[in-house]
């Protein structure tokens, strides 16, 4: 299979020292924040912690920021340095180029997000493994969805990081919170719905879709943007 060559190449391209350093700092933020607040005398209520750390920090900021820095570069770097033709001139179906690129993005970003979500929830919920598992799995589901979106974004614009940041701040951070109805088009919303589905004690006051719907939408987002990336690879002018 040619997939392994592209996967390993992309893994190497995404493993720059600076990029990994920034990822480490981002991933450490919610863990440090949680470690500090749970020890303080004025520790937040569970609902406050969920809103501030799980929703805003991990699902709405840290996870998408880590993913945008990695996934948008999966293709964008090669478009920029004009080496993408090495891959697109190979006699293989375009999905066999897209899939290992997506896989390498998930593999690179995954450990940062998983460890960050695991440690944060482990500290916050007093070693309650149901809660820890729910937080970690929902963060990983968010990782998959964000990766599919940002890999596609890296193919459609040369300003993928900038557009991705705008999307994170405006769409996920602002509109999906304050404009009713838009949350149904937010990755953060389905990520939190998964968390609630796996551990019903989380976000008890918020309206949620069922676990089945959240899983279906998560898979749907990944498939949709995977298809869009493959289609883009077939139709774009490769520099």
């Amino acid at each position: 299979m040619t997939v392994d060559s592209i996967f390993l190449l992309t893994l190497r391209q995404l493993s720059g020292r600076w990029r990994l350093g920034i990822m480490t700092v981002l991933a450490a933020l919610p863990v440090l924040f949680t470690a500090l607040v749970v020890r303080s005398d004025s520790a937040p209520w569970v609902t406050e912690f969920e809103a501030i750390v799980l929703s805003t920090m991990i699902a709405g900021s840290i996870a998408p920021l880590i993913v945008v820095a990695i996934a948008s570069a999966a293709f964008a770097n090669e478009v920029e340095d004009r080496t993408l033709a090495n891959l697109t001139l190979a006699p293989i179906p375009r999905w066999q180029i897209m899939l290992p690129k997506l896989g390498a993005s998930v593999t690179t970003a995954g450990p940062f997000i998983a460890i960050s979500a695991f440690l944060t929830s482990y500290l916050a919920f007093n070693h309650d493994m149901t809660a820890v598992l729910a937080v970690t799995v929902s963060a990983l589901a968010g990782l998959l969805m964000y990766s599919a979106v940002f890999v596609w974004l890296g193919l459609v614009t040369r300003q993928a990081i900038g557009v991705g940041l705008l999307y994170i701040v405006l769409w996920e951070g602002f509109f999906s919170r304050f404009v009713s109805g838009i949350r149904f088009l937010s990755i953060r919303y389905y990520s939190l719905a998964l968390m609630h589905g796996l551990d019903p004690r989380r976000f008890v006051d918020d309206p949620h879709v069922g676990l089945g719907v959240a899983v279906a939408v998560s898979v749907g987002v990944c498939v949709l943007f995977g298809v869009l990336s493959t289609r883009r690879l077939r139709r774009m002018d490769v520099p």
């Binding site: 040619t2 060559s5 592209i6 190449l9 190497r12 391209q13 340095d81 004009r82 080496t83 033709a85 090495n86 891959l87 697109t88 001139l89 190979a90 006699p91 293989i92 179906p93 375009r94 077939r234 139709r235 002018d237 490769v238 520099p239």
Partner: protein
């Protein structure tokens, strides 16, 4: 001619525009086995044309076929094609041998180890194959990229400015290699903006100027055809009327007009002779030439390639 009777490469009324800029305009030609040179100045549309011939870029109008099949969005066809773009970027962290091996793997080469070593030997770079590409000189990078282009033994080679950065010894080696590959029946298209390169390599030349196919055929025939075309040359001098009266008597001049602004427009079919005769005439008559320029881009190109060449 390919097995199905079609030309190996057919470019049929192909145009490509970017917004209001026309990069390639209604170009038609066929390419058969052997070495074909794509000649033209920088910005003439050579690279755009080559990218459409490889399927990397879409056409705005017309069709491009390889072995009778559309080349765009046709991955199975890419196994028969070897492409070396003008961009010299490589994966700097990757060793030369690993790069060639990866390219062979992506192109489904069966005996990968043997094919990799054979391709590297062809470009005479076995001694440096264990080093990262980031440590290579420009010429070495080009040679290793050529090895990666050849590793799957393609029937058609499309090489965009492949001699960039090569020293004279490397150029000679490269030319010898291309002649050998062509003798084995391959179809090779090589682009260049340097006349001598194409003259030494190609049996057939496609001359691209301003996105159009200005001429095609044997190298000498093209040169002769271009020499026969009349060209307008604008001459500005301190005493234009006296110069016009003298210039009209030159063998290289077909007609002379004086513009209202005082410039002389000379029509000539022998531009190279005119370039020699005009300064001599001006010097003999003590007339100062302030400006001599071609009036259209094609003439500028001809000056660049034929007169200077």
């Amino acid at each position: 001619m390919s097995a199905n009777g079609s030309p190996v490469v057919r470019v049929d009324h192909v145009s490509r525009w970017f917004g209001s800029v026309v990069a390639v305009s209604d170009v038609t030609f066929d390419i058969e086995p052997g070495i074909t040179g794509l000649l033209g100045p920088n910005g003439a549309g050579k690279t755009t044309l080559l990218r459409m011939m490889t399927g990397l870029a879409d056409v705005s109008d017309g069709t491009v076929t390889l072995f009778g099949e559309p080349v765009r969005d046709n991955p199975p066809l890419y196994g028969r094609l070897g492409v070396m773009s003008e961009h010299e970027t490589v994966y700097p962290f990757m060793k030369g041998r690993d790069f060639v091996r990866m390219m062979g793997h992506l192109r489904g080469v069966a005996d990968l180890g043997a094919a990799t070593e054979k391709a590297i030997a062809l470009v005479d770079l076995a001694a440096a194959a264990h080093l990262p590409l980031g440590t290579y000189s420009r010429g070495m990078r080009q040679r290793m990229r050529l090895a990666a282009t050849l590793v799957h033994d393609p029937e058609v080679l499309i090489l965009d400015e492949p001699l960039n950065g090569a020293d004279p010894r490397q150029r000679a080696h490269f030319q010898d290699l291309l002649h050998r590959l062509a003798a084995e029946g391959r179809t090779i298209v090589i682009s260049s903006h340097i006349l001598e390169e194409v003259e030494q390599l190609a049996e057939t030349v496609l001359l691209i100027i301003n996105g159009k196919l200005a001429a095609s055929g044997g190298f000498r025939a093209i040169r002769a055809a271009l020499d026969k075309r009349p060209y307008h040359v604008r001459v500005v001098a301190d005493r234009p009327r006296e110069l016009a009266a003298a210039v009209v008597g030159l063998d290289s001049v077909d007609a002379v007009n004086v513009d209202p602004d005082g410039a002389i427009i000379v029509l000539s079919r022998k531009v190279r002779d005119l370039q020699v005769e005009l300064p001599r005439l001006a010097q003999a008559a003590s007339i100062t030439l302030l400006r001599v320029e071609p009036l259209d881009d094609s003439l500028e190109s001809v000056f660049g390639y034929l007169v200077e060449g």
